[in-house]
Subunit: 200 residues, 2 copies
């Protein structure tokens, strides 16, 4: 009968995610991961594999537990226009309140490793595609309710809201000021008030 693990995998993975999220892949050494988790290198290797493998696991974990969970929660809201507003507001809130300027692990990774590592680029691309799909389908649904500007195609809306989110993530790392980010979001969010204006 084997010796039991002395740590909880999910809790440890959260710490690993946090470390990579703050510093990125290259600037994080195995010893940084030891310090962040309180575990020895051998334990980390046994449970998660080598550095690149543990990074891939962390990225996938983040993608599932942060991005997808967030989207699932938001899609419980009944109104699609509210879903879009809420997602944007969540990102602005997170950035404004984070002294560590973490931003988003996926976006950070897209920049750091995306052009050079195919496997990681695939995880990144899947995550970004989910974000875009969220905006696309909720914009389309909002249009059907007369709550979104009909001059913008759902495809363009998905892409432009996604690009806005990416831009907000860059601001989260560089200038996480609420008024700046809200100002950045306002013109696109104005597309969602379209039906409220009783136009021409």
């Amino acid at each position: 009968m084997a010796r039991p693990r002395s740590f909880d995998e999910a809790a440890t993975m959260e710490k690993i995610v946090r470390q990579f999220w703050a510093r990125g892949y290259e600037a994080t050494s195995i010893r940084d991961l030891e310090a962040a988790t309180g575990l020895g290198m051998t334990s980390l290797y046994n449970a998660f594999g080598g550095k690149r493998q543990v990074f891939c696991s962390a990225l996938t974990y983040y993608s599932k537990h942060r991005t997808q969970r967030c989207i699932e929660g938001i899609e419980r809201l009944p109104a699609p226009a509210d879903r879009i507003r809420t997602f944007v507001a969540r990102v602005i809130d997170a950035a404004s309140e984070d002294p560590d300027r973490l931003g988003c692990l996926v976006i950070n990774t897209a920049i750091e490793l995306g052009p050079h590592d195919e496997d990681i680029a695939t995880v990144v691309a899947d995550n970004l595609a989910e974000v875009e799909a969220f905006f696309r389908r909720n914009y389309e649904a909002a249009q059907k309710q007369g709550q979104a500007d009909p001059n913008v195609t759902p495809e363009d809306a998905g892409r432009s809201f996604s690009a806005l989110m990416f831009g907000l993530r860059v601001l989260a790392r560089s200038r996480p000021e609420r008024d700046v980010m809200e100002g950045a979001a306002r013109p696109l969010l104005a597309l969602l008030r379209y039906g409220d204006q009783g136009c021409c």
Copy 2:
């Protein structure tokens, strides 16, 4: 009388910029810089200083020769709305045509080092502020000519177009497809056709 330099500083700096631009700070070693420039470590140290110093110089050089020069050139166009369109188009063109997915050194650096290195964060912030100011003043000028939606303040426009650019830079690293990026830009660029629609 001292031995003369065997290399041209500006040409070498271009190569250094290119290396850091492609791989970032942490993943670039001094030996990578040696290989990229064809110079020995001692020559690099004498001319540019240690790794972090040479990176700061590269970032500043990029900021001046890439961002500022680009903006200066674009502002020779007479129509402010065209300036905005052109800047966006330039970024989309560059990303669509770059097999190396370089993106933008400033944005890459904002993500990689921004939260952790104050001096570098300052160079980044200055550059991002120039981009925002470009959009802000040209949006305002376009409004005065009746070429931009008057419901959007120049401040919000500056911020939202900046955020769009940042988002496009993220796409440049992860998914540099022209139609995706043009779709992302289309709703904001539509603000510039406002006067053309002969609205209500």
